[in-house]
């Protein structure tokens, strides 16, 4: 097989297993293959997808970001506190995004200026961000955020509802939830960035061979910095969307999400050694995880068993990836 065929094979394998899961779960539960559940899955997948897209960018440069779960909690909490304090919701959420980007900037500076290994830099941020989130909220959830705060996470585009003769609403079309819309826009935009923009090309070059990129005149520091700031920003976005969906800001939200994000990227063929990865792969990876969870839930499989199965799926995916690279 040529490289290209192998690549297609890998993509196809991930996609095929995704379809396989859908078929299996359609048999185990009647409610699985419905428009409503499809939207539910899509909605559940959004968090993993946002973070997975961020993780892909960072991993392509040969780095890793362990702090996204904690950053999303901090960003969400900040947005909620600001909204609660009377700041208009869009501005409050913008504050959340900025907090996320700021955390990412600190990560990036630790990696580029202080030359800390990304694993350590983001591990530190993971603890710090989580600690700050717990500190400023006294570890208490922030509730009563109001309808406007809930709009981003719960609203939909083109939702069609008829008010029936009996006065009860009748949902004609559930609509496209904003988080799902956002996921599609993000995936397309970052895909274009990675494939078509010089910045994206430089991300790959830095991950493929940092020294060669540097000697070619690529601004390695700035490219690396971008990856971490972007990752922080998307973590902030995830925090806002997630807290909005729950209409509650939980400082302990997003625990271990960084691992789901990395798993999604890896299942989608992103190489942890850097230089390789696609957004389409990562989105497929996110859906594999999301559908596994959802389908197993509906089939009544316990959370513990789910965890075991997802673990095995990750091992399988990476093993397939290794096979591909073996000559």
């Amino acid at each position: 097989m040529t490289e290209r065929q192998k690549d297609l094979f890998q993509k196809f394998a991930a996609l095929a297993s995704l379809l396989g899961l859908v078929v299996i779960f359609s048999f185990t539960s009647n409610a699985f293959f419905t428009v409503g559940n499809g939207m539910t899955v899509a909605l559940q997948v959004t968090s993993i997808a946002y973070l997975g897209i961020a993780a892909t960018c960072v991993i392509i440069t040969g780095g890793i970001d362990l702090s996204v779960g904690a950053i999303l909690a901090l960003a969400g909490v900040v947005a909620a506190m600001a909204a609660k304090a009377g700041v208009p919701v869009p501005l409050a959420m913008l504050a959340g995004l900025l907090v996320g980007a700021l955390c990412g900037l600190i990560n990036g500076l630790c990696v580029t200026a202080l030359k800390l290994p990304p694993f350590i830099a983001t591990l530190g941020m993971m603890l710090v961000a989580r600690g700050v989130a717990l500190q400023i909220t006294d570890a208490k959830a922030i509730g009563g955020l109001g309808d406007s705060f809930a709009e981003l996470g719960n609203g939909s585009l083109w939702r069609m509802v008829n008010i029936g003769a009996d006065g009860f609403p009748d949902v004609v079309f559930v609509g496209i939830p904003y988080p799902v819309l956002l996921m599609v826009v993000l995936a397309v935009a970052v895909s274009i960035l990675l494939n078509r923009a010089t910045l994206g090309r430089h991300l790959y070059a830095v991950g493929s061979n940092l020294e060669a990129a540097r000697l070619s005149g690529v601004n390695v520091q700035r490219v690396t910095l971008f990856a971490y700031v972007f990752s922080g920003l998307l973590a902030g976005l995830t925090g806002c969307v997630l807290m909005s969906r729950l209409v509650t800001a939980q400082p302990s939200e997003g625990l271990m999400y960084e691992l789901d994000a990395i798993a999604a990227a890896v299942i989608g063929g992103t190489s942890l050694t850097g230089g390789v990865g696609t957004i389409s792969g990562t989105v497929i990876g996110a859906f594999v995880i999301g559908i596994l969870r959802n389908g197993l839930n509906m089939a009544g499989v316990s959370a513990f068993t789910q965890q075991i199965l997802i673990g095995l799926v990750i091992l399988l995916a990476v093993w397939i990836d290794q096979m591909r690279h073996r000559k």
């Binding site: 097989m1 490289e3 290209r4 274009i192 078509r196 923009a197 010089t198 910045l199 090309r201 430089h202 790959y204 070059a205 493929s208 061979n209 020294e211 060669a212 990129a213 540097r214 000697l215 070619s216 005149g217 690529v218 601004n219 190489s271 230089g275 390789v276 000559k327």
Partner: protein
């Protein structure tokens, strides 16, 4: 019991191979899409040095990997001491006395020299490592090579040449009967090479059969008894070295005769000075280096390993810091703080280690060609214009004769010579006017070398200034206009190539009759 060979009489019939330690018959090895070896027969006798020559991709390394058990042949048999056998791993071949010294170093950087030599064979006291015995045994191995390396130092602190010698010491410690050396001298200095050759002679007398793989054909005469040439996975010839010549070997390797190793120089330097370096100093690395590079000139940097040639080039390019001195481009003084600055001023540095810092191996041919000049193939908002990128790639693939199935081929899969051409393309696409070319033909086969030399000549003809750093003196003599000779961090002299000789260059490079470098004063000492 094995019959001993009294004298190395060459017998034509392979079946009567007296003293054949190791005999391979009709070895065939197929990889997906490639027939790496096609019915190759080959034998090593007691007490002989048997050279295996061939271009990159001829099948030398695959053959050696089959001998050492890393690969299993698809067809053919392997006889050791007259008995058919199969090795399923390196451990199995080592156990019966076949050792291999790899071209790429296989040492563990964070372990000591002694620990590396006896890795997985540590002398033990019960469950624990017998550290005293370990050190003692290692000392003995190192002494045998006359190496002044402490067994306790960590391998990562050693120079590449020293690591190579440790690798050799490790192989010798196996008491091998068949020893395979894959490019053992590629990173050794002259004196270290001599030491190695003395050891090879000693091993020969002890009856060890040595398989010797080297691109440096000129050194074969000193040690080799027989030579086998492979081409495209097939056996071409096996001769006594005395009955053949380097020219003949080269002709057989490439399958055609090369008129000369070096092309005729068509270019000649102009009097305009492109680049002027004055008093360049990097503390403890090089000291007060000054030189001029003219338009259309190929300037050689000669010297031994560690003389500071690469370091000077890297510092001018902004890859490493400079402590003192200035670089002028024409009349303009350059402030280069990073490779980015250097690239902007039209400088290019082609590293001696293509894979480590020249190419993004996981990326495609086209992506590598445009990497240093993305602006030329993207629009104002930084979006890549793929049509322009493809056109640029096609242009350079054509112009430099890069052999690749397509411009979207992953670079890792190209041969060394084509990878080298790719690095050159990258810098030509950047419109570089000054090229620092570090060991341009290292690890490249003979045919591709010629193409690289021609290319260098063409570049000079276009008015590009080329600095060629090379440890191959014939290459320096054959290609340059002038030679700057380095010794221990100093530029000793600049010679006009046509008026000098290899001997004179070596004389300066080895540092005879040169004042010692002054101690670097660390500035005002604090009390």
């Amino acid at each position: 019991m094995l019959p001993s060979v009294s004298d190395p009489v060459y017998s034509e019939a392979p079946s009567s191979a007296a003293g054949a330690l190791l005999r391979l018959e009709g070895i065939t090895k197929r990889f997906p899409g490639v027939l790496a070896l096609d019915g190759v027969s080959f034998e090593v006798r007691r007490g002989e040095v048997h050279a295996v020559c061939g271009e990159n991709g001829a099948g030398k390394s695959t053959l050696m990997k089959i001998v050492s058990g890393q690969y299993q042949p698809d067809a053919g048999t392997l006889h050791y001491h007259g008995e058919a056998c199969t090795f399923r791993s390196t451990a199995e071949s080592e156990a019966v006395g076949i050792a291999i010294i790899h071209q790429e170093l296989n040492l563990v950087p964070h372990l000591s020299v002694a620990e590396n030599i006896f890795l997985a064979r540590e002398p033990r006291k019960g469950w624990l490592i017998d550290r005293a015995a370990l050190r003692r045994n290692a000392r003995r191995c190192l002494d045998r090579l006359g190496l002044d390396i402490a067994p306790d130092v960590l391998v990562k602190t050693l120079s590449v040449a020293q690591q190579q010698m440790v690798e050799i010491a490790k192989a010798l410690s196996l008491n091998a009967q068949v020893l395979i050396m894959d490019e053992p001298t590629s990173s050794l200095t002259e004196s270290e090479t001599e030491k190695l050759f003395a050891i090879i002679h000693e091993l020969k007398r002890a009856g060890v059969g040595i398989v010797y793989i080297s691109h440096r054909l000129d050194e074969l005469a000193q040690i080799v008894d027989r030579v086998t040439v492979l081409r495209d996975g097939r056996h071409v010839s096996t001769d006594r070295f005395a009955d053949t010549s380097v020219e003949q070997i080269v002709a057989r390797m490439v399958g055609r005769s090369l008129d000369d190793v070096f092309p005729r120089r068509n270019s000649s330097p102009t009097p305009d000075v492109l680049l002027r370096a004055r008093g360049l100093t990097r503390q403890g690395v090089f000291h007060d280096v000054s030189f001029e590079l003219r338009r259309g000139e190929i300037l050689g940097f000669a010297g031994l390993m560690g003389a500071g040639r690469t370091e000077v080039a890297r510092a001018i390019f902004g890859a490493d810091p400079l402590d003192a001195g200035e670089v002028l481009l024409g009349e303009q003084r350059l402030a280069i703080r990073s490779p980015r600055d250097a690239v902007r001023h039209g400088l290019a540095y082609l590293s001696e280690d293509r894979k480590h810092d020249g190419l993004a191996l996981k990326m495609t041919v086209a992506q590598n060609i445009t990497l240093a000049n993305m602006d030329a193939v993207s629009n104002r908002v930084g979006m890549i214009r793929f049509d322009q990128e493809q056109a640029a790639a096609a242009r350079y693939i054509e112009a430099l004769g890069i052999r690749t199935p397509s411009s979207s081929q992953i670079v890792r899969l190209l041969s060394g010579g084509n990878q080298q051409k790719l690095v050159i393309s990258k810098w030509l696409f950047r419109d570089s006017r000054i090229l620092f070319f570090d060991e341009p033909t290292r690890g490249i086969d003979v045919g591709a070398k010629y193409a690289i030399y021609q290319l260098l000549d063409q570049l000079a003809d276009q008015g590009i200034g080329v600095v060629m750093i090379s440890s191959e003196l014939p290459e320096i003599m054959g290609m340059t206009d002038r030679v700057a000779v380095f010794h221990e961090g100093r530029l000793v002299t600049v010679l006009t190539t046509r008026e000098t000789s290899q001997e004179e260059v070596m004389h300066y490079a080895s540092g005879r009759s040169i004042p010692p470098i002054p101690e670097f004063s660390p500035g005002p000492t604090d009390d």
